[in-house]
């Protein structure tokens, strides 16, 4: 009952310094402060994070699945846009 009254929040966690925040899932909470607390308990139990972002799911504007073709397909055929010809040394780590 309570869950249906609380808004949905999307949770983003930064796993370690230098990495980007990554979307890890969503949860329900009455406000942003509790969403952060809940995210801490639901998504960082195994030492996953150094930083948490939460944003109301309703604030996210998403591309429509039906637009997939026009949006993304054209880039597939442009091989020169893909930097696949370089060997990245292991020491570089995450790019």
């Amino acid at each position: 009952m309570m869950s249906s009254e609380w808004p949905l929040w999307e949770v983003f966690i930064r796993g370690q310094h230098g990495l980007n925040h990554r979307h890890v899932g969503s949860l329900h909470a009455p406000d942003a402060e509790m969403a952060i607390n809940n995210a801490r308990d639901v998504y960082t139990r195994r030492n996953e994070g150094v930083s948490i972002w939460v944003v109301k799911s309703s604030e996210i504007t998403a591309s429509a699945p039906s637009e997939k073709g026009p949006l993304f397909d054209p880039s597939n055929s442009k091989v020169y846009r893909h930097p696949t010809f370089f060997d990245i040394p292991d020491e570089v780590g995450h790019m």
Binding site: M2, L27, H28, P30, M34, N37, N38, R40, D41, V42
Partner: protein, 260 residues
């Protein structure tokens, strides 16, 4: 006074007693809170409460582990948790109170957390480095417990008419069990003098402050200090502890030494 403080056997007995008191508090409350697992009003709260329970059980392993070491009879933390009878438990009565509804569980948690926080903060400066180290680790966990329970007590106190009523009722029922946290006996005095633990009564002013501020913000009325229940710290418990132990200890009692 000075001679008592120098007697190693008395010191050891007092230290063991203290470790059981603090370890049994976290054990019994950890078990109580774990009873909510799978039953909380929302998934997020369920996981948060389970985390709190796990933190408390983790702290129990450290406290009772050290208790076994101090006792020197080869008893492990598990032995102490699973193979003692009710009268050998030293937890305060507050932590064995039944969960009641979610509000009552949170109110109990808050009243305990505020005290636990202050106790650990003081224990970080213990002259016994083993105790100081455990306190250091537990303090971080308990700081979060307090943040969370305090926040929820305020939200539910200052929430709907129904949540306010339930929180005020919980407060009234649990209040007479808070006095035991600040009572002391000769064993405490022994350790206080050695700089190992803070005097229980020395935590009262800080606790009063946290509680008064939180209740005020949650629009809850602090009950008057009347009769305070006591006994847990010397092994005299309410009937509730027996039910907890029969569930918690069943496996080791029925199948001694069972592992998995």
């Amino acid at each position: 006074m000075a001679t008592a403080a120098l007697d190693p056997a008395a010191r050891q007995a007092a230290l063991l007693e203290f470790l059981l008191r603090v370890g049994d508090n976290t054990l019994i409350l950890g078990h109580r809170v774990s009873e909510w697992c799978g039953h909380s009003p929302a998934l997020e709260e369920d996981i948060a409460l389970a985390n709190t329970a796990l933190d408390l059980i983790g702290q129990t392993q450290l406290w009772l582990g050290l208790a076994g070491e101090v006792e020197g009879k080869g008893r492990s933390a598990d032995d102490l948790a699973y193979l003692r009878d009710g009268y050998e438990f030293r937890n305060i009565l507050l932590v064995e109170r039944p969960n009641g509804d979610f509000g009552k569980t949170l109110m109990r948690q808050f009243l305990f957390d505020a005290w636990h926080y202050l106790l650990l903060k003081a224990l970080k400066g213990s002259s016994d480095t083993r105790i100081a180290e455990i306190a250091e680790k537990a303090f971080k966990e308990v700081s979060y417990h307090l943040d969370r329970s305090r926040d929820l007590v305020i939200r539910l106190g200052d929430g709907t008419a129904e949540s306010h009523r339930r929180m005020q009722e919980a407060l009234g029922e649990l209040w007479p069990f808070t006095g035991e946290m600040f009572m002391s006996d000769a064993l405490d005095a022994e350790l206080v003098e050695a700089g190992i633990v803070p005097a229980p009564e020395s935590l009262k002013a800080g606790w009063d402050e946290i509680v008064a501020e939180t209740l005020a913000e949650g629009t809850l009325k602090k009950p008057a200090d009347g009769y305070m229940h006591k006994g847990g710290r010397r092994g005299v418990h309410t009937e509730h502890l027996g039910f907890i132990l029969s569930e918690m200890q069943f496996l080791q009692r029925a199948y001694p030494g069972a592992t998995w």
